[in-house]
Symmetry: C2
Subunit: 298 residues, 2 copies
């Protein structure tokens, strides 16, 4: 476990360095937007998505994808960050702070908040498309861009956000909650692992398995979040527990009860590991990373 933690720290650091290489230089008449983009991109965060992307690429032996994956790692983090910026806007969640820092709109103004989010979405595709310049695998890169777009848009993350926004303060069915969890957070995790696989030239069947692993991990992660809100230790979590109940928020736990939620996390994570093993490829670090995400206590 200490070994894992050491590798984790090292790879998060590498991931951070890769992302930093693709951030815009703050220059020109439009420098304020670059400042807003970089402010948001450097606000901390676990870099989980690009990390999972690279480790999935490694699982398939990189196989010609080791350079192509780097712009996509940055692109994925830009997409994720853009969604946080727009989520915080006054007309959305109206959050003035994120991770102890002022949110982007609170720091740069609401108009810059809208534009910085837009700019990061576009910059993500610009960065990803930059992979064409040096690649030996243009079809793989093309497919990776399609995955990035599809899992970000109305059939992915944004689709999930829309339903989440629409159903705020309204009763939610299990089917709707599942839809929100799968799309709002699941889709980008799926895209991350899938892009890593595609860029390493994984077969279609292998990609289908990776998708399933990622969706299971995403869903288990969410349900674990709901469980911790009830059972968690406030000091360990670093945030108040019981907030879901106070806000009358529908969660897996409120719909199905604590016992069933725990069973579901167990089932999803066991299945994920099983599918991962069925690929007959080895990335022990990736497996431990996935275990850590699901069984975390904070």
């Amino acid at each position: 476990m200490r070994e894992f933690k050491k590798i984790l720290d090292q790879r998060v650091k590498e991931t951070q360095e890769i992302i930093d290489r693709y951030l815009p230089e703050e220059t020109g008449y439009q420098r304020r937007i670059m400042e807003a983009m970089n402010y948001s991109m450097q606000a901390g965060g676990k870099r989980l998505r690009p990390l999972l992307m690279r480790e999935t690429c490694r699982l398939f032996g990189f196989n010609g994808g080791e350079r192509d994956v780097e712009p996509f790692m940055a692109a994925m983090e830009m997409i994720h960050t853009s969604s946080l910026i727009h989520d915080d806007l006054p007309c959305m969640d109206n959050d003035q702070y994120r991770r102890g820092k002022k949110s982007t709109w609170a720091e740069f103004g609401e108009d810059m908040g809208v534009l910085a989010g837009d700019a990061l979405i576009v910059e993500a595709f610009s960065t990803a498309a930059g992979a064409f310049a040096g690649t030996k695998h243009p079809y793989r890169v093309g497919q990776a861009i399609r995955i990035l777009a599809e899992k970000t848009g109305i059939y992915g993350m944004i689709g999930g956000q829309v339903v989440d926004v629409e159903l705020t303060n309204r009763p939610i069915s299990m089917d709707q909650l599942d839809f929100i969890y799968r799309l709002k957070t699941g889709a980008l995790l799926e895209a991350s692992m899938l892009i890593g696989a595609v860029l390493a030239g994984a077969e279609e069947e292998e990609c289908a398995k990776i998708s399933k692993v990622a969706l299971n991990v995403g869903l288990a992660f969410q349900i674990q979040d709901d469980i911790l809100d009830v059972t968690g230790n406030q000091e360990v979590l670093g945030k108040p527990v019981g907030s879901d109940a106070r806000n009358f928020k529908t969660t897996y736990v409120t719909l199905e009860g604590l016992e069933k939620a725990r069973e579901q996390v167990k089932r999803l994570s066991e299945e994920a590991v099983e599918i991962l093993h069925s690929l007959n490829r080895k990335n022990g670090f990736l497996e431990e990373l996935i275990q850590m995400l699901i069984t975390r206590e904070k």
Copy 2:
């Protein structure tokens, strides 16, 4: 001229039909966002950018790009529409109406306005990347995606919007106004023509000329707009004249005077036609279209 008008009507109709094929079906839990996207995409407009794209592709004999160009035409219109949706938001221009219809946020709510704009940006890249599926020219498609992203982002349209927003109600230099005009509207016109050329396999030198033509046309178009605000006929224009002066807006005319502005339009358009001719390729319709854009009286 009547012949031109007939072809124009026909090709606008074709352009419209092509775009419509790429609009999302309104279905699923997230159908409201699809409704908002389609509402905005079908709010009228001249479809100028996709039209110019296809005609530039035609100028180079299509040459294997006739199918690839279609998703890019739709993608370009989605990008343009997304910028209108976000421009209208309360924290930006705060416009409740556009072309006589309620603006997207006024019709669907501010949160949906933000998300619909985001969704159209992403859908644009998803649609463009769809061209990989059937293409014989993956590198051309890759290059076209790079152009789309670059000319939309902080070095293109969004860069121009940022400076425009920042300098509202502040004195603007000629250099800054030029920057805003070139980027805010010029960049997408440039991308449109450039993508048409790239998808038809135009050489680098030819692409450089097409860029110059497009930037000249975009700039002349803007300056003509400033001129018409002073000299135009309100009934022909269909909107009040003199609004720039009333709003203390800095324009080419306020900075340089009417005479110089007219000379500039003449110089830019003559140069554009000259460069176009130097390509030794023939698309009479494209030439007339460009002339019409610049010398318009409304």
